[in-house]
Symmetry: C3
Subunit: 332 residues, 3 copies
């Protein structure tokens, strides 16, 4: 899939500043895009990256033009334009591939006869694919791994050695990203990254791991992930971290090494959690954690009759402080 | 499935006030039931609807008899009687249908050879059914939609054009409703409604959408739903609303248009959320939201050592107010 | 699978106190292990159980030797040694079984032609196995039960009469247990228990129920479990309890009879919840509940602008109390 700047500009309804016949082979992040890739900068926050980007071209609005030293396509709504362009670089965007008519239903020594394996799939020695799995094209699985029944591993994902993927897990589902168009409707972003899973990783039953937008979602060696967990696009989980059931980690958050994350935890997007952090069950993590330690945040259990009385005052804590003339600086 | 009032009264152990040979073709809601349908009113809260109901008959207890102008079946436990009756009007209540022996394993141009398609299924042009899906009887899917691997779409559900149903998602599972019988045991309610999904909708991996009890669960055009989300029976989600992963929406709640609901949010049942509401991640929504705006409710992250000290006082906020002689009216 | 103490000691790098040729047939809990089983005591907390254990042998560290009256294997890291040993007693630890090449794809009167059934599976009269299920070896299912599409039931699990297992559910997945080794890496524990489900139980779509470590996970008669719920290893759920969607129950917690647990609740491990307890949606249960009643714990919904002001003071409640010179004993 190679397009000229002219073709791309027509697709996203932009105007070219530069060479219309320059050929673009893919989409890259602003910081790492090669001269054969196109990138985008959605607002002034990215102006410093834009100034030094090596991308072959960038999609920007006219306000950012002065920071741009490479070819550009000018549009009004950069993120919308980017969302439209992603679909042109997505694998499998034709019916023949998507219907998996080429998936093989065969009996390899270690593959259950009812699992379907795509083309260009590599499966290492002693790895077992159990019943009713779907392993899409271009997937790589290392040695001694166990893929349990009813698992879906989508196009291009990589799984290391000695891994266990439990029943019903989905590896490589589309990330959740959508741009708003001018009619206030969502325009979906095709996710072009993969999921890269290291060695000695276990993924629990019915857990979902989304693929990255441009770069990959990464789960490093020795990570243990329980059931019904959601790992969003571009999350990176450091070595030997363990995560209990029903936790969700939003997009682009980076978790350190040897963390222990309890069940039902919610971690919002774009955070950094350092190494050796323990987060207790059902806690919401809404800020970076820069120091190792044990963290918690939930309302202790009460009789409902008590909770109703407490709740009224809880929502007025700032007004109580004001009424009592307490100032934050008074507290220590 | 047509039953006389006499047959129904025998099934639910009630006494008929009216014509025993009247024929009933289905169950309807009290407000919308036709003269060919039976409905029910569980308590006095429904007396006004009962007075003007056009149902062919209603199941009530004797206290409601005075409000009823149509044929009635009198029982002691109305909800229990209703739960028993639902199973008589459920599709597929015979082994031949339930075992899906009639599901077709065929190679249509756009259907993976390993997916099973029921009878009376309509699949639109350019729609793709990926590997290992189960599409039960009477399902309708529009054009240009993508049903990814290992998806289950149950009897009678409808999916529009340009939709994506991600791997492992379940559309049309039974709602969670049970009546207590006289021995304090649960009597399940068969859910007779469907799931109706509009155009340009995406449903995430391993997300579940339950069918409605009598009327349908509805997901309107342009809605984007992430992974591992639970949509309960009779929820209605308005156009262009986006919902992030691991959120749950309980039964009969209605969500407006263009809402943005964060990850891990819990919305309790029977609520109304207006248009253009933003709810931050992990918030519990326990009341109607009538004004657009941004809403939040969770405990900020603390060191566990701090949380333990804070928690003690948190559960005593009303007592602190009382001790300090603060009154709610003092606060502004 | 029978091993001598000598073989086991070599595997876990321990030294034998007792008869090296004693034969061990399995792993048992310290309190209930038979003379043919080996058990373990990880620390002094278990010294009383150790003193009266009937196990054939125990794995302990040298500090516990004085409390032990049976044969012992001494190691430095007892839990790590136990984790390694579990894998020797796990069923199916050979490729031939794991790849399910022996699973049958046949058309019994009540089994969908596309479901795979292992060896030594017992399926009762009128029970229906829907499409694309995987029923592994040694599973028992009673009469009149319905196993919906895409369900996975793993080795040795038992399901009673009149049960419904909804689409995508996983019964008998591995529990989440890992020991740390001396390099700070996780060593997984193979779970040797099963899942035992009684009669009249329903399990929701994409719900996961993990098998027990040594003894079983138990779901008693009449329990109703909604979608996307996680039931961890060795949880016991009492008769006629109902649990709404997206709740998680951590390992070894025991729930009483006739409880009603709302959606999105998190219950931490090793707790006891008595009979007739109601827990409202999204509450965290972090302590035993010994009295029936209604319990709650979450932050009431606020406008985000209000929540930001409230949150600052919420995390300083202990300091506010200190500043105001309030003592806990003053509050009533």
């Amino acid at each position: 899939m190679i397009y000229s700047l002219k073709e791309i500009a027509e697709l996203i309804e932009g105007s070219i500043e530069g060479n219309p016949s320059k050929l673009i082979h893919g989409i890259g992040a602003l910081d790492s895009a090669s001269p054969k890739q196109i990138s985008y900068a959605a607002n002034e926050k990215y102006k410093d990256s834009l100034k030094i980007s090596n991308a072959g071209a960038v999609i920007i609005n006219k306000n950012l033009k002065k920071f741009c030293k490479v070819d550009a396509i000018l549009v009004d709504n950069v993120y919308l334009a980017y969302s439209i362009l992603t679909h042109k670089f997505k694998f499998n965007q034709n019916i023949e591939n998507l219907k998996y008519s080429h998936l093989l239903n065969y009996s390899d020594s270690n593959i259950s006869g009812s699992s379907l394996i795509g083309i260009n799939v590599k499966i290492g020695k002693n790895t077992i694919i159990c019943a009713n799995c779907v392993i899409e094209d271009n997937v790589t699985i290392g040695t001694n791994s166990l893929i349990e029944p009813n698992v879906t591993i989508q196009n291009g994902c990589q799984i290391g050695n000695n891994c266990v993927i439990s029943p019903g897990a989905v590896i490589g589902s589309e990330g959740f990203g959508n741009a708003k168009n001018n009619d206030n409707k969502w325009s979906s972003i095709a996710h072009l990254g993969n999921v890269i899973i290291g060695n000695n990783v276990s993924i629990g039953a019915n857990t979902t791991v989304d693929r990255g937008t441009i770069t990959d979602t990464e789960i490093h060696n020795g990570v243990k992930i329980d059931n019904l967990i959601h790992i969003a696009h571009n999350v990176i989980i450091g070595e030997d971290t363990a995560i209990a059931a029903k936790t969700g980690i939003a997009g682009t958050t980076i978790i350190g090494k040897r963390c222990m994350i309890g069940g039902g935890v919610g971690i919002v997007g774009h955070l950094k959690i350092t190494d050796d952090v323990v987060i207790n069950a059902t806690t919401t993590v809404n800020r970076n954690i820069t120091k190792p330690g044990v963290y918690t945040g939930f309302v202790p259990l009460m009789l409902h009759s008590e909770w109703k009385k407490v709740g009224i005052w809880l929502t007025k804590l700032d007004k109580i402080a004001s009424f009592m003339k307490i100032k934050l600086k008074d507290l220590r």
